[in-house]
Symmetry: C3
Subunit: 220 residues, 3 copies
Amino acid sequence: MLTTFFKDIDAVLNLLDLTGTLVFAISGAMAASTKKLDLFGATFIAFVTAVGGGTIRDLLIGTTPVGWMGDIRYLSIILIGVGLTFLFKKVVKKLRKTLFLFDTIGIGVFTILGLKKALLIGIDAPMAVIMGMFSAVLGGVIRDILLNEIPLIFQKEIYAMACIFGGFIFVMMQNFGLGFEVNASVSILTIILVRILAIKFKISLSGIDDSELKFFKKEK
Amino acid sequence: MLTTFFKDIDAVLNLLDLTGTLVFAISGAMAASTKKLDLFGATFIAFVTAVGGGTIRDLLIGTTPVGWMGDIRYLSIILIGVGLTFLFKKVVKKLRKTLFLFDTIGIGVFTILGLKKALLIGIDAPMAVIMGMFSAVLGGVIRDILLNEIPLIFQKEIYAMACIFGGFIFVMMQNFGLGFEVNASVSILTIILVRILAIKFKISLSGIDDSELKFFKKEK
Amino acid sequence: MLTTFFKDIDAVLNLLDLTGTLVFAISGAMAASTKKLDLFGATFIAFVTAVGGGTIRDLLIGTTPVGWMGDIRYLSIILIGVGLTFLFKKVVKKLRKTLFLFDTIGIGVFTILGLKKALLIGIDAPMAVIMGMFSAVLGGVIRDILLNEIPLIFQKEIYAMACIFGGFIFVMMQNFGLGFEVNASVSILTIILVRILAIKFKISLSGIDDSELKFFKKEK
């Protein structure tokens, strides 16, 4: 069974990528609803939340037309996400924990797929890791800017650091010749684990104005 | 006479494109003046309002250098727009209705020219329609972000929906082999009409937090 | 000695470019600390402040992967800048005047290097001058947007006008066949001088709502 899983890693990742897109779109639509945007505004926010990170990565590394332009499934799934949020807002609110899990999986998958894409076109490993992290987090950054907020991930959670850490693991493991399937699985699980543990134990990064010199702090 | 019009459709569209650019630049400069920006700030806002949408479309579909980079007329006309607003601010304010008409024409023209550009480089129709809409509305979105506001078109007017609808009409009509002139004219007029009717009858899109499930609502 | 300087102009400019990057990163990290961002947020802000202008220039003119992607020194120097700000915040605050000088030098260098890059790929001179100015100022614009502020350079200082003026000087001087070394030196010094004089004599640009028709004004 494990062999089958690894054989079909691309199919699995593709499915998780689309699931992540759906969950990101829902989170964008939910955020839009707190600002009294209309349906177009909500759809636009959902769209940039879901594909914004990958779009910026594609632009920076020079892959155009950007990814979602040639694959109608992304737009379709985003519209489904907005529709679900519009029709079943209360249910969506209650599913917060489930959505969080898929959001975290999405971040992991986006990071590793973005990292892989950057490596494939010849970007050096350290920059490719950053491109992976950008793929996962910049959609949320654009969402927050459009909603006139300072981006959430600049203020709490080690979200982005989890992506960088997972990307680093991926690049390291490549040296051991284990194959993409194993590398991707391990590093995505690492990202998920680091994020969940950080939230569980309320660990976040310090800011520059902290007088005590500590990189990590525990929230009260 | 109609034949001549259709013969010269490219010249007409080009003229309307430049007129739209002028009006977008004026609207950007006016918006800047409400925020006490200096002349550079006003010019920058005018510039991104006028060319921002087309720039993002060009980046997403991979057309670089972006369009206005190779045609000094765009920059010139934007500077003229800022100059006119600076010199005749009161007159510009009084011309609001005329400007609104040209703004609406501009949106129609930007949509169809953007859509055509996307189709020409092989983007699939649904995405090309979105690229057309992006060309028309994203300049205003960047303007609002730079002025630290939640973008206006996320909150009211069916502005962007008019562009999508017009783009859809354009793509549909292509199947009837009517030629670009007729398609462009009809779909641009559709966009103008939809926007004017929506404003006249105060029709706008619902938001996600509306309890009654209606996609459109009438403003009070 | 002067001959040696001109011989090594590329090395000198490269050094100043990296110094400018460091100072921009420090200014970004300092700005982040006023908004209580965490270390990731501060690093991200430092990063976009330092490379944001050049990135947008590269995207607009079609140079991808964007510049810093292929040169790990930029990322390294930005991390050093953030680290220095984190460790020695009080010292950095005291060095404000020195940093201002290097910031101004950085702006001059960024402008001329960006202008040169645009000219080299065949962008017309007026647009290339704008690309030079964009390289120098847009990093700060993105920084301010991410921190939820109206960009500072839209409101005061003739900062961007100094870049345009210096770029104009550079383009003019090219007609005299003086060689890049002389042109670059003179126009960078012009930018530095204009900015320092404008600040010394508190000269700034008027806004559109000024009733008296003057392009420049003296701040009180």
